[in-house]
Assembly symmetry: C2
Homo-oligomer: 163 residues x 2
């Protein structure tokens, strides 16, 4: 796992494709080399499946943090605040929730230093009033496997009976 691998992984995330051709063009690395690297990344378990999902733990991002961020309510700027949160290094998901003008933020981090930096960054945002974080001990499910129990709604149509 070196700089070249990182560039390839970034290309995959940025381009939204796993095509060696496209990645090659984007990174300037020859496609046969891209292919060779991706093969290794799969063998190492960093890239998980054909859809090239990334294993955060294998990348050394072992700390997952769930943070509740309370911010001053400001109708116009709540998205902007959300975007500031989203831009912070390590942040993966940002939800703006009902009720208490809260954000729920989920982050993947490498070490304790990154954790404290993260919280500091949260509190640097002017509108942020309070943060409260919980470490994740174990991730039991972390796939947006939206279709696990997805069933099409059965729409029963009634034909009006005209007698």
């Amino acid at each position: 796992m070196d700089d070249r691998d990182a560039r390839i992984l970034k290309a995959i995330a940025t381009l939204g494709t796993g095509s060696p051709e496209d990645i090659s063009e984007y990174t300037g690395i020859p496609k046969s080399t891209v292919h060779y690297r991706i093969k290794n990344l799969k063998e190492d378990g960093i890239l998980i499946n054909d859809l090239l999902d990334v294993d955060a733990q294998k990348l050394g991002l072992e700390i997952t943090l769930v943070t509740q961020v309370v911010a001053e309510y400001n109708e116009a700027y709540h998205v902007e605040v959300g975007e500031k949160l989203a831009a912070i290094e390590g942040v993966n998901q940002v939800y703006f929730t009902m009720g208490e003008n809260d954000f729920v933020v989920i982050s993947n981090l490498t070490d304790r230093d990154m954790v404290s930096r993260l919280v500091t960054d949260f509190e640097k945002i002017d509108e942020v009033v309070r943060t409260s974080s919980q470490f994740v001990i174990e991730t039991i499910k972390d796939e947006p496997n939206l279709l696990n129990d997805f069933e099409l709604e059965t729409v029963t149509e009634f034909t009006p009976k005209v007698e």
Copy 2:
């Protein structure tokens, strides 16, 4: 969006591949038809990129819920409780967190009925003591874009100078 599309989407999620060949084999739908369907799903914005990420909202899963679940502490069974949570219809992510023996659960749901069913299901689990849910008004970031700000640690090596 009909039953066939649903089967194809499930196949993608299950197999972890977008290959028309593999999906065809798994579903029994001819590969040219699989290709035709996937093309339409992309045009409709349900499948987002070449990595075939799914847009939950386009699927009608417009309600995202963040739930904190407090459960009785039981060293042996906390994973089992987590797995029960993960198995509930609509649940996408389950984190077991530090401190209060909490789970944080994130779900994608279609309607209010599904919400109340979900909460009922949570409380049917014996060990569950209390749940508290927050509706997500807006999802500002929801991609495990782990590499956004990922930089390789620069390990500076010092060669001991022998004089």
